[in-house]
């Protein structure tokens, strides 16, 4: 089905950990807070948290913030978010698995602002497959791919992390 091999998610994840560390240093982010978007982004954020030895991790479930309720209804898997008591004045590193239309990130940012006002948000994604519908770009990506119109990708995990065609 696929004309090319998908990158190894574990390798991308290791490289991304180094890149995030560099980002934190370059931007001088104080007390950075990793927030992973359920489900794939949360697995990735957990890996990054371990690799960077950060004390906290936030998990974001954007089910209540999606913009397609009138097309799809509510996801049965809606589990709710788990964020620290306060994200006020925190430097957030938002983590997703596959960046595509940008709608997930729009929903995630709306939800974050309902918890408080962070100092900054940086976006990290394992893959960027283009096809953007909103003016949203990642600060760091593991790899960029161009897919055929009928191709979709998903991340399986939490261990090992692997990219497959859906």
């Amino acid at each position: 089905m696929s004309a090319f091999e998908l990158p190894n998610a574990e390798t991308l994840c290791q490289q991304l950990a180094l890149d995030v560390k560099q980002l934190i240093n370059e931007k001088n982010l104080q007390q950075p807070l990793l927030i992973g978007i359920r489900t794939g982004g949360a697995w990735l954020a957990q890996r990054l948290q371990t690799a960077l030895e950060l004390p906290e991790l936030g998990i974001l479930d954007i089910s209540f913030y999606r913009d397609d309720f009138d097309e799809r209804g509510l996801s049965i898997q809606a589990k709710g978010s788990e964020l620290p008591d306060s994200i006020e004045d925190r430097s957030i590193i938002l983590v997703d698995d596959v960046l595509m239309s940008g709608r997930t990130i729009r929903a995630a940012m709306n939800e974050i602002f309902d918890y408080g006002r962070p100092t900054s948000i940086h976006l990290v994604s394992l893959l960027d497959i283009g096809q953007r519908q909103l003016p949203i770009q990642a600060d760091l990506v593991g790899a960029k791919l161009t897919l055929a119109a009928d191709q979709k990708i998903k991340l399986s995990g939490p261990s090992p992390l692997a990219l497959t065609f859906a």
Binding site: F64, G73, L74, K79, G80, E82, F113, D114, Y115
Partner: protein, 348 residues
């Protein structure tokens, strides 16, 4: 008026998702658990700076109360607002004209205002079910109490309370104490408790207020409070519904308290870690002593907070089921239209 269909079926879509919430009777364990899980998520969103989520933004919810209820109506109102829906509160006194006609006229007028959901409280059993059968497809009906029949959101908030304070509903022994006869809450609770795996359900009260058919639902009947409270994990006190007491079913309030009022001494017969619940409003000194209502084992005020989360959950799920059903009907129609041979095609 059309013949009433099975309420369990009316409230589900073809693929088993909730589209109205009329009764806990007949709903699967998986679906009741889904309501509780979703309610848990909404408890956490309400602890935030911004308590609203944008899930039902642009939707219009009408609180249609044919019977007074400040608490239930307010928690439905808050629930709708925290889902970002617009809400209209209508308190309609019971009309003397034919009920079916009045109800439907009211409903059609409200439908003309592009409402997406009706929350219905009515003194007649089956009112919400009747409306659900008549309403335009795509509009969700939530039962906020119908006669002596059902009060499913109260029952589900009680299930959530038990689960949050005891960890699980499975294996619990639950006593429901008081005016079972007039209680739609007790009926809805018993159905939910059985489905969710409670070990034993006891109904306790004077013979005049405990109908025998409670045994058919799966509950054990006790007329003695002290016997009934032995080794229970959860004590649910019901309000003595004075306004419904048209017949002389009780000697006096004082006598009732002596026999069935929950005091600290009587609570001591239950398990030491038993929790005490009450749907409110409380009649202090009638069915419950203040020392118990305000005591350490009481979770009565927690129930009120959980009530908002449970109502958010069923509103979100019912609206979601309606959306999914409308989408699948539209897709089916499109498919049917495409598969029909066109006139020119038929000629050729």
């Amino acid at each position: 008026m059309t013949r009433h269909s099975d309420p369990t079926q009316v409230q589900l879509t073809a693929d088993g998702r909730l589209k109205h919430f009329l009764t806990t009777e007949g709903l699967s364990k998986a679906l009741l658990t889904e309501i509780l899980d979703l309610a848990d998520s909404f408890i956490s969103t309400q602890e935030r700076a911004v308590k609203k989520v944008p899930l039902l933004r642009g939707k219009t919810v009408v609180n249609l109360f044919f019977e007074n209820s400040t608490r239930t109506r307010s928690t439905f109102e808050l629930a709708a607002k925290r889902l970002s829906a617009d809400i209209l509160n209508l308190d309609i006194a019971r009309s003397a004209t034919s009920k079916g006609e009045t109800l439907m006229d009211t409903l059609w007028n409200l439908e003309a205002m592009y409402s997406d959901m009706f929350v219905v409280r009515h003194a007649d059993s089956g009112a919400a079910h009747f409306i659900a059968e008549q309403v335009t497809p795509g509009v969700a009906i939530i039962n906020a109490g119908d006669g002596r029949h059902a009060h499913p959101t109260q029952a589900m908030l009680d299930m959530l309370t038990i689960r949050r304070h005891k960890g699980t509903i499975e294996g619990q022994t639950v006593a429901i104490v008081g005016d079972i006869l007039h209680s739609r809450v007790a009926r809805s609770q018993i159905h939910a408790l059985i489905t969710l795996g409670a070990k034993e359900i006891r109904v306790i009260g004077p013979a005049t207020l405990v109908p025998k058919e409670m045994a058919d639902l799966g509950a054990k009947i006790y007329f003695d409070l002290e016997q009934g409270l032995a080794d229970v994990d959860v004590v649910i006190m019901l309000r003595l519904q004075k306004e419904r007491m048209s017949d002389a079913l009780l000697p006096s309030e004082g006598e009732y308290f002596k026999l069935y009022g929950l005091t600290e001494a009587k609570l001591a017969i239950a398990k030491p870690d038993a929790i005490v619940m009450h749907p409110g409003p409380i009649n202090r000194g009638v069915e419950i002593d203040s020392a118990v209502a305000d005591g350490e084992q009481s979770v009565i005020l927690n129930q009120v907070s959980y009530g908002i989360a449970v109502r958010m959950a069923v509103m979100a799920m019912a609206m979601s089921g309606q959306v999914a059903e409308q989408q699948s009907l539209a897709a089916k129609k499109l498919n049917d239209d495409n598969s029909e041979p066109s006139e020119t095609g038929a000629i050729a």
